[in-house]
């Protein structure tokens, strides 16, 4: 549902009402795909989340049950990590928006007379995708390590306490999330700013609006579809991300996010019900938050 926000905001013409077998036939592959690769795994996930340990109690052995307490146990044990995931994701989304909006505005509006510059800038935004995101995150771990130029430099300038470090801290994790998701924010913003009709801005100017108030009352509302889709594209994966916060990358034992809890329960403790319960909760929580956000931002008509 939310992703229809990418569609052009102009209302498309009403499709012909006539029932078409061809249309149904064309839909069939998509429906089958969703059934097989979304609905079946989702059901299996929900069933797993309700399993109980077998009598033997051996590691990784579970039986079908209706153990709804798996959910309350998971919240009790990992409530802090769940909350932290959303705090980090919100922070990363806000930072990404603050970085991306000027960038997208520059590329989409200011650089409009210079197509070559515009294309080059767009390529630069997309360029990081040419390298695996795991490698880029590992590179940041190296760049932010204790003996790196960045950290020793900050310490020399007394911007960082002499015994402070960056990797393994919330700062590093939020930084990593922001860095990795900036292109997902910039591109939809660019797509909507690129279509911004500059005559509206002129009109604002003619009506004696200050540039700031034109920006606030004209530019932002017109780029709202881009903001909404950029925020969704950043927030949803960031909340479930388990790479940046992983101890092997930028995180530490104090920065664990829900994705890391799921990974650890699934792979190491072999506690499949707990891992599945956390996954279901993550999904539901994101759905609720996104619904609230979309309603609040007054963009239901976009969806």
């Amino acid at each position: 549902m939310a992703f229809s926000a990418f569609a052009p905001s102009t209302v498309s013409e009403q499709a012909p009402r006539r029932k078409s077998r061809v249309a149904l036939l064309l839909l069939l592959p998509g429906i089958l795909y969703l059934l097989l690769f979304f609905l079946v795994p989702l059901l299996s996930l929900i069933l797993t989340s309700l399993q109980a340990p077998t009598v033997s109690g051996d590691i990784g052995q579970y039986r079908t049950a209706f153990e709804w307490q798996n959910y309350s146990t998971a919240i009790g044990q990992y409530g802090g990590q769940i909350l932290r995931s959303f705090v980090y994701a919100v922070l990363a989304t806000v930072f990404a928006l603050l970085f991306s909006y000027p960038l997208a505005y520059f590329i989409g509006v200011k650089a409009r007379p210079y197509p070559l510059l515009q294309n080059l800038a767009l390529i630069l935004v997309i360029a990081p995708f040419f390298i695996s995101f795991l490698l880029r995150t590992l590179a940041w771990k190296q760049l932010l390590s204790d003996e790196s130029a960045i950290v020793t430099g900050l310490k020399a300038l007394a911007l960082l306490a002499p015994d402070a470090h960056v990797t393994g801290t919330p700062v590093a994790v939020v930084f990593g999330l922001t860095y990795n998701f900036i292109p997902f924010m910039t591109l939809p913003l660019y797509a909507s700013l690129e279509r911004l009709d500059l005559r509206y801005l002129e009109a604002g100017n003619d009506l004696y609006a200050t540039p700031f108030s034109t920006f606030l009352r004209v530019t932002i509302p017109l780029s709202m579809p881009g903001i909404v889709s950029g925020v969704l594209l950043t927030f949803i994966p960031a909340a479930g991300d388990y790479v940046n916060a992983s101890r092997e990358f930028l995180g530490g034992t104090g920065t664990t996010m829900i994705g890391n809890v799921i990974e650890s329960n699934f792979l190491v403790s072999l506690n499949y019900p707990a891992a599945a319960a956390m996954s279901v909760m993550l999904m539901v929580a994101i759905l609720i938050l996104v619904t609230i956000y979309v309603r609040r931002s007054g963009t239901e008509d976009l969806l």
Binding site: E147, R247, T253
Partner: protein, 405 residues
């Protein structure tokens, strides 16, 4: 009228090759359909049977199938300049087997997660020989996921070090054989800590706050802390002994003394100097010094080190057990084992390898981390096998610290 077979040997060979490819194509097809059925069965039955029913071993087709897939950890086999293994190439020529060496394992848990569903159904996991750590082998044996080895096909088993012949998870070594072993101890950066470290408690010196790394391998990290607390980790200790050590560990994680808890990646932290001292594995430090300047030193802590082994097993679904056994037998030749030990810097379980290495690599023969003498071995302890309930509880407690909950 059937065509007479050509007498030309080349043509004969081609015909037989063509037949082989037919067979393998059929095998692949049936394998694919089996796998599909298996997946659907796995989806329905994994919870129903609760994993209690043990799978049965696949029939051995080694007589006709001269291939073998060996899954192992990175950096665990000798290598020449061309990235080829001289010992394995010699085995290929000698045995005529087509051996695929697959560096597929970088973590016991991840590898187990990848293959456990096939193992539970007794299916081929795409490897005929896998090397995993003691405790994981214990789990595989408990669930009946490995095949019994035929001693008559591994005569060199007589070369197995006596201390490793009767581990509690496999008395008499009927199902597994050690590949390499090593110590978990402490190491430090000689430039940053010129005085060196003596015990695990030295790691908790406030001077090194935030610069200490420890391992995600529970039995090594908690094992060393338990030893420091005076617990003999090989004996039948109780829950308190484990939980006390876990509390100590948690205290240093929460206080920030311990910078991070990592698997193999702890070496990167040592290199980047995020950590200047760590709980680490013996062979890695020798290798690291070779790669990145002679900067680190490893020591067995005063209270003792943990000793672990990675062991070969033949997974239950493998159809090439005899081939696997002949490879194990080959690597139990002292001459071959000496080559491996000299390259990987871990402890070989093969008696006689030291004598061979002493002649060929005199500088290695007295390295206590590769060829430990009885004094050194007396300081090394094997973490006892846990009961299923213990494995569950302790894992959860240890993971809770790693997740900060």
């Amino acid at each position: 009228m059937p065509l007479p077979l050509s007498a030309d040997p080349t043509v004969k060979q081609l015909v037989s090759l063509a037949r082989q490819s037919q067979i393998s194509r059929r095998a692949v097809l049936s394998g694919a359909s089996l796998a599909a059925v298996g997946l659907s069965v796995a989806a329905c039955s994994s919870s129903a049977t609760g994993g209690q029913a043990k799978p049965s071993a696949a029939a051995d087709g080694s007589a006709s199938d001269k291939t073998l897939v060996w899954a192992n950890w990175p950096g665990y086999l000798d290598q020449d300049e061309n990235k080829k293994s001289p010992t394995l190439d010699a085995f290929r020529t000698q045995s005529g087997l087509d051996v695929t060496y697959d560096v597929a394992i970088d973590d016991n848990n991840t590898y187990y997660g990848k293959v456990k569903d096939q193992l539970a159904l007794g299916q081929d996991i795409g490897a005929d020989l896998v090397c995993l750590t003691d405790w994981m082998i214990g789990r595989l044996i408990r669930f009946g996921y490995v095949q019994k080895l035929d001693e008559t096909k591994i005569p060199n088993k007589k070369n197995l070090t006596p201390t490793l012949q009767n581990p509690d998870f496999d008395p008499g070594r009927t199902l597994s054989l050690p590949w390499q072993g090593g110590f978990a101890g402490i190491c430090w950066n000689k430039e940053k800590i010129p005085g060196g470290l003596k015990s695990v408690s030295d790691l908790w010196n406030p001077k090194y706050k935030g610069r200490i790394g420890v391992l995600t391998e529970m039995r090594d990290t908690i094992g060393l802390i338990m030893l420091e607390n005076g617990v003999d980790i090989a004996s039948k200790w109780n829950d308190d002994a484990f939980m006390n050590a876990t509390d100590d560990f948690k205290k240093h994680v929460v206080s920030g003394q311990i910078r991070n808890v990592k698997g193999n990646a702890y070496l990167e932290d040592l290199k980047s100097e995020d950590t200047i001292a760590a709980i680490c594995w013996s062979g890695d430090i020798t290798t690291l010094n070779g790669e990145a300047g002679n900067k680190w030193e490893f020591a067995i802590p005063s209270a003792g080190a943990t000793l672990w082994n990675d062991n070969y097993v033949v997974p239950i679904g493998s159809k090439r057990k005899s081939n696997a056994e002949s490879l194990m037998n080959y690597y139990y030749e002292p001459e071959v084992a000496a080559e491996i030990a000299a390259y990987v810097n871990y402890i070989t379980p093969v008696v006689g390898a030291q004598a061979v290495a002493a002649a060929k690599y005199p500088e290695l023969a007295n390295n206590q981390l590769i060829f430990p003498n009885t004094d050194t071995l007396a300081k090394a302890h094997i973490f006892r096998t846990l009961s299923p309930a213990e494995e569950n509880t302790y894992n959860a407690a240890f993971q809770a610290v790693l997740l900060g909950s």
